[in-house]
Symmetry: D2
Amino acid sequence: MHDVVLIGAGRIGRIHAANAAQHPRLRLAGIVDPVPEAAAALAAEHGSRVTTLDAALADPAVAGVIIASSTDTHLDYSLRAAAAGKAVFCEKPVDQDLARAQAAAPTLADARVLIGFNRRFDPNFRALKARLDAGAVGKLESLQITSNDPSPPPPSYVAVSGGLYRDMAIHDFDMARWLLGGEEIVSVYAIGSCLVDPEIGRLGDVDTARTVLTTVSGRLCVISNSRRSGFGYDQRIEAYGSAGMLRADNVLESTAQLWNENGAANDRFRNFFLDRYADAYRAEMDHFADVLDGAAPEISFADGVAALALADTAARVGDLLR
Amino acid sequence: MHDVVLIGAGRIGRIHAANAAQHPRLRLAGIVDPVPEAAAALAAEHGSRVTTLDAALADPAVAGVIIASSTDTHLDYSLRAAAAGKAVFCEKPVDQDLARAQAAAPTLADARVLIGFNRRFDPNFRALKARLDAGAVGKLESLQITSNDPSPPPPSYVAVSGGLYRDMAIHDFDMARWLLGGEEIVSVYAIGSCLVDPEIGRLGDVDTARTVLTTVSGRLCVISNSRRSGFGYDQRIEAYGSAGMLRADNVLESTAQLWNENGAANDRFRNFFLDRYADAYRAEMDHFADVLDGAAPEISFADGVAALALADTAARVGDLLR
Amino acid sequence: MHDVVLIGAGRIGRIHAANAAQHPRLRLAGIVDPVPEAAAALAAEHGSRVTTLDAALADPAVAGVIIASSTDTHLDYSLRAAAAGKAVFCEKPVDQDLARAQAAAPTLADARVLIGFNRRFDPNFRALKARLDAGAVGKLESLQITSNDPSPPPPSYVAVSGGLYRDMAIHDFDMARWLLGGEEIVSVYAIGSCLVDPEIGRLGDVDTARTVLTTVSGRLCVISNSRRSGFGYDQRIEAYGSAGMLRADNVLESTAQLWNENGAANDRFRNFFLDRYADAYRAEMDHFADVLDGAAPEISFADGVAALALADTAARVGDLLR
Amino acid sequence: MHDVVLIGAGRIGRIHAANAAQHPRLRLAGIVDPVPEAAAALAAEHGSRVTTLDAALADPAVAGVIIASSTDTHLDYSLRAAAAGKAVFCEKPVDQDLARAQAAAPTLADARVLIGFNRRFDPNFRALKARLDAGAVGKLESLQITSNDPSPPPPSYVAVSGGLYRDMAIHDFDMARWLLGGEEIVSVYAIGSCLVDPEIGRLGDVDTARTVLTTVSGRLCVISNSRRSGFGYDQRIEAYGSAGMLRADNVLESTAQLWNENGAANDRFRNFFLDRYADAYRAEMDHFADVLDGAAPEISFADGVAALALADTAARVGDLLR
């Protein structure tokens, strides 16, 4: 049983709180949030208590810190928690500033830091990865990663998000690195448009983008992003190998189908990350429990920096080509 | 090149005429129909000519006769054509009267007669059968045959059809016999309802039925029929074996899909036999060309009688249980 | 927060224990089992304690009793718990003896008893039912319920199971009643074979069966059962209405697909009830929490008796026809 | 009835010959080929005769010319046939040299020339296009066109093919233009690798490529190509709009499925263009009959030049980035 403290009682923090509270090897020992009411409400919900970061880091009983606070705090809190000897589970991105993140990398290289790229824990993508690693389609040659949100975020979110590449596509850059086995990426092409919401364009961002990565051995990866699919959370991967193709499809709300004069219709797709990735969030927390038991984090701080570096490059290329 | 003559210029006759006319080894040498205008129009369409059954049977150049006339003529025309030494391709059913059909069986046992159970030539069901025979699911144990029309026929058709079992389910009895490899059927249960159109009930028929067949070794087959699916032609088979299940599904009009807020919708199913079984009718005519070349008919007169006998039994059981 | 006590620490009991322990409105206050070690181990796992049925029924703090003990105790324990004023969540079947169950029905008619037909809580079947009730396919006309286990149970289980109809098909009888809206069933046909394991036949049971139910208005329901599918847990429903068909399909382990020279293969189906119905068991426990809050049980003791009555009839018909 | 003459008795010529010969409004009046035996054999097969281009163009009875000869002859034969007042059905590409094709464009602008981009006639892509035009997904925003061959061609073919972009992707450029409604394309990015067959690389070509097109309004189109899919002919389109997504999938050989312990497997995909696009070739010939009846060609010479121009640009960009 490991005591963990959660920093950040927002949307994603509440998911992690529930998963930590229900985990048989974790005890949710405290909640930290700048808004006392938010911390108190979440603590009450899970039989935990309100605390502060300082107190948590000073408490030798606390083994792990879950950082789900605002992005600008990720790096500092990770550094402080690691310095205090805690295991860290930090939400993506590691920071919005690549140089800062790179500067911290040596310090955190040996710390027990798990970066929360939840998709690596999705059972569908894990099944795809396991088969890929088992050679089900021979040698991997190219990837198609499709990642579209159901509907665009409010402009207020876009304004502070860091832009489509750093906020949204960063997940896909991590998936690309993961599936490519970390092979060096030698070129990045990105092109973006504002097709969904003109307000997003006015804020200097794009809402639709395509990124093409190439690796040193010539493997190709296309990432397709849109802030609005029109049909729920569109999260798919196709991995082409020398002996066929593996793919992981979207997840339906149920297996119910309606067959009528219009044809055969499936149910809706799961709408967004809270339901599509519910299992992934649970598995991610389970892996953090493993880290607390001594396992090496599957997603290191260096992985977080590498994904951010790709996002940064894509954003700059995309800006140049607009 | 074999000269063939078509008897019957109705809906199914026109399909056979087109397939015979386009077949590289057949020549559509004549059309016979009691309505001279119908025969003439069809003959003109395919560069053929109008003739009579007597003339066709007397003509030594005519190698085969395609009988697509009304059901009450099937048996007599088959007997006459066979007696004249012609190969016969006769539409189902062989007759509506089982005793008459059984009486003719010895005479036609050695004749070259092909009965037009078109579904045996459907590429989907053939693919299922080929895998079944190849042992893809081990030993066959049970069957689910689903066969629903898109919408009910007019009452005038129902009145002369011979009833759901003899008119519609007879196809499924033949499929059951084919897939069961001709194993003896030792029990027939049938139950029917009138749920679709009360007029069908007033005519003494049912529009919805379930039939359960059992074979001597205990294998089970369920046949599900309805005169109205509400979603096009519903023609499916599930074959359960000792090592899994084979199935053949409905055929879509195209692979186009629409993904929107209601979910993921396929295109419509093909609506009825003319489009669903277009390939089957072509393959069936191709097999008749093979018969004219000397091959044994895949579906003999005895098969036609056996399917009729099952339909007859099911109809009587169904009547008893109403 | 309601205190509940679990009777029976076997396979299904352990599932209910975990769901009760994790439920925000339930407290797993005790575990009862004739094998003290089993009770103790399960209690330890969930921070509960070992108790006895007498003690639990005498404890005014205990609001509900979950009966997951052997079938022969279901009825007695239900009666005793109800008499003690407890809400009861009792696994199926209510008893193996229909007469005994019917005799108890008046006594339990007004008690708060929830019978554990888990499939009614499966999200896929619930989605189907919700659409059916919303009129998505018009008026329901017929049902196809397919329910095949992945592989046969050991003969020792078969010997005490009550037979395929009472042990396995009883779930399907309940589903049929649920989907038919409780319309009176006026005929039951059943036919069974021993095709999977001769040992099952030697024990007087069948391993493959088809049951056909008809309702007073003529609606038809086919239930297909086998003790071995060869491809995992096969749990499907097709509901035909006047305006189309609704169906709920099997659940895949993941959305991963392999496309290679053999075609396009999906992942495996979930293998058996523990994983296929994991969500259903959670939802069922959630409903029991609602019952403890005052809601009427969705599945009453009378429903349990009605399903048993159908199973009993089917078993007797099946025996007659063998 | 229109007399047409076929130039070129190779693989694609034989398809056009069969479709013209079976078309009710066309008469295959002659076959031209530099290899007399090839012309004679094909003529015999369809009851046609061997002729020469000069004779065909001089014959006032010949209404149309089908050009299926080697690529280097396409442009000259088209110009000569058009000058002789014949309707022209010319295989893609219009030429391998863009400048030559552009130079001929004014001359052929008013001629009746149909370019054989067969995919526009595929029923699946037509269904997608029809729904797109009907507004089923609102305003089109982006496209994903996947087009992979089953296995790489022999090096001898690659050497004279003009390269992946001009030989293979040119179909996809035409599809992109068609689906984008001819909107001006303002940027072309292309990147290619040699991953499938090193011999292709030695010949200066690539076997795997991704092309990204952007239109003047910012719409994005990704084209994915590989010379080897490992699973048959991979021809898919996804069209994203403001209200959802339309897609057209690969075509299966049959609807037969195998469900066993490995999961649920579909049949194989149709393997290559001869079977996948059999319907498209028929529909294309039917449209040529319409052109002979007076209809405007759906795919003009200018369309052929525009697709070639995109292929040319992509090839040059791809070369720069290698």
